[in-house]
Symmetry: C2
Subunit: 403 residues, 2 copies
């Protein structure tokens, strides 16, 4: 049998997938599992979006144009104009989720062996895309006690090599909930100018901000030709399964190359692009988003309030997104997550995402988990109570085993 590729072997296997099968097993045995491990919101998809799909007049479900349906590109223009950014149609590419926008960004910017700086903990799929594209991720470690904000400029500069092509981050950040300050963004812009870097910024959680203000990287005209924005409707329209994202850049060469990538994969799904256009055409779309953000703010506050009560749990209240990356009084958080699914007594349990998967640096994150507050408030409170009990029982069981 011939060998498969080294790059596909190097792509990270999701620990969550293995753990997920344990959750399925637990549920089969009648256990209720509170899933705080995945960023899948429970908020209903807006009616206008679904109506746009159901009522689309389709006789032949044909390819959308590769750069996106004109209706969807127009909707993106309207949405960005409301944020204060005037985009030309050719500065917008509709992608198959934010996922594809990330892949395109890396492939357009990097050749095999090129490097990209990425603050860790990071969204694990960034590492996956990079490995499959033979791009090297250079992690810049950030710290829980600092709310995972960026380290001083010198620490970033120490990571640069002649092969560094870009700085990549999400803002607001998954998994940390950090929202970068204006000072941090100023520093990144400076860094990009001084060291000739692209800035690839994933702003899918743009609206999910509860402290301070989010500033888009598009606000910096001096790096207009260095900026690639990764975006998606998944979270703000609660339509993760729609697979509609976008790549935005004012750099003509980047857009021409991204359009070539788009032509090669033919098109993003047609119906969901119509759904997005219908959502933006609804005059109440901003209220719908604001209403959802308000719900997440309440959840964040409740979740953090409950977490703060648990002995040994450490975190700084995150400013945005819908995640908290928090420390646990355990040595191996993956083992703890597994134990909660297999050994925790009672009729209910809770699942988090183990921290190590969010780091490229070996040994990091083993005392952390990511919690996504994507459940309603009473479920979040209940999940925290289960977590508290689980920590006590787990550590007692460990102590017994070690005696």
């Amino acid at each position: 049998m011939p060998n498969i590729s080294a790059r596909s072997l190097a792509a990270p296997a999701s620990p969550i997938r293995r753990l997920y099968s344990l959750a399925v097993e637990a549920k089969r045995k009648g256990k209720k599992v509170y899933h705080l491990n995945i960023g899948q919101p429970d908020i209903p998809t807006p009616a206008a979006f679904l109506r746009g799909i159901r009522e689309a007049k389709i006789e032949v479900l044909d390819y959308a144009p590769s750069p996106g349906l004109p209706e969807a590109i127009h909707a993106v223009q309207v949405y960005y104009a409301e944020l204060g950014f005037d985009l030309a149609p050719q500065e917008i590419l509709i992608t198959i989720g934010g996922s594809e926008a990330i892949t395109f960004s890396l492939v357009v910017v990097c050749d095999p062996g090129d490097q990209v700086l990425l603050p860790e903990p990071f969204y694990p799929n960034y590492l996956g895309y990079a490995r499959l594209a033979n791009v090297e991720i250079i992690p810049v470690t950030t710290d829980r006690s600092e709310g995972f904000h960026l380290p001083p400029r010198q620490e970033l500069e120490a990571c640069l090599t002649p092969r560094t092509k870009a700085f990549l981050c999400s803002n607001p950040a998954n998994p940390t909930g950090a929202v970068y300050t204006e000072d941090e963004l100023d520093m990144l812009v400076d860094l990009a100018l001084k060291h000739d870097l692209f800035l690839i910024v994933d702003e899918v959680y743009r609206e999910f901000v509860y402290e301070g203000q989010h500033k888009s990287i598009l606000s910096y005209p001096e790096v207009a030709d260095r900026v690639i924005v990764v975006d998606s409707i998944s979270k703000r329209v609660s339509a993760c399964g729609a697979r509609v994202g976008m790549l935005i850049s004012r750099n003509k060469e980047v857009m021409a190359a991204a359009q070539k990538c788009a032509t090669i994969r033919l098109s993003a799904p047609t119906l969901e692009q119509l759904g997005f256009a219908a959502f933006i055409a609804d005059p109440h779309h901003n209220e719908t988003i604001a209403h959802m953000i308000q719900e997440y703010r309440i959840r964040r506050d409740a979740f953090c309030e409950e977490l703060a009560k648990i002995p040994g749990v450490t975190f700084r209240k995150p400013e945005g997104a819908f995640y908290v990356m928090f420390g646990l009084p355990v040595q191996d958080s993956e083992d703890f997550v597994r134990w909660m699914l297999t050994d925790f007594p009672g009729k209910e349990t809770v699942m988090f995402a183990p921290g190590a998967g969010f780091y490229a640096t070996l040994g990091k994150g083993h005392d952390e988990v990511r919690g996504a507050y994507v459940l309603k408030m009473e479920d979040l409170r209940r999940a925290c109570a289960i977590l508290a009990e689980g920590l006590t029982l787990y550590n007692a069981a460990l102590a017994r085993a070690q005696r």
Copy 2:
């Protein structure tokens, strides 16, 4: 401004895209354009498919599982069982169109610099995926006078190097309509065993066969662990815009790697997977497909009959798919296609895909175009009449210009 990547520069720009803007321009001036340049069928998408989407009970449009919705995987099992192949769920991956199945296949099998043998003329996006993944395409030229069937085994073997990882082809073939004979497939199977190659076969046109019989590469148990089948519902369900494809392999290592690729991009669109499941659940789905194939058979016969009447047009009647790759009495078919859009007099014109874009070998295909018989019969006949007139006028204009 930092440089973009060499690989994105190397990705082929679609000549069709430039020509397409000329077609848009012609239509703006009131001209009717018969589009025989693109494989976008005009057959209505089956009602059961669209109903499956419209009537889906969706409150939150959430991510499908990365390997595919269980309903969609089951539908693939049912469909393949009807073809005589029993597939386990883990031998199936739902992809975002056949496009993604091709990308995954190349990335799973090849590292940068590895080579893949590909008969030319080929589906141009194969070259695009390969360039973005830094995979080298080694073209194996096939000949119009042979109906684009495979050359003798020695010619294929002469192309092999230590870096050759796979033989890739579509069967039935886009753009040639060739359906490989059992002898040709036997030869490929032998080649794969002797030289330790994967066989990546794109069978999206499996049902589109009008002469002889299509044999799936899945019929060869001796290469079960070397075979990757690329498949899609786009053509047989006339739902190109659904973006639902699949990757099939009995090689566990290949499937594990492909599943990792799938996890990294999260999921294929949810609703269209439900549409496909609804289509397969319709007891009449095979009649729907057979009815469509019958329509294409009639079109192929009419199209070929009309083409055969045009002086200087050369081709062998293709056995499958819905394309004819034919020779024209011109030196530069791209120039001719352009001229038909910009200079051809009258109220109607026709657009084909220039041949050179289907070849990797420089200088090949300049006297060929691909025609897709995706229009109804009277339009195909009219398009051929326009083509005949266009050839006369174009060559007369060229002769005048050269005097």
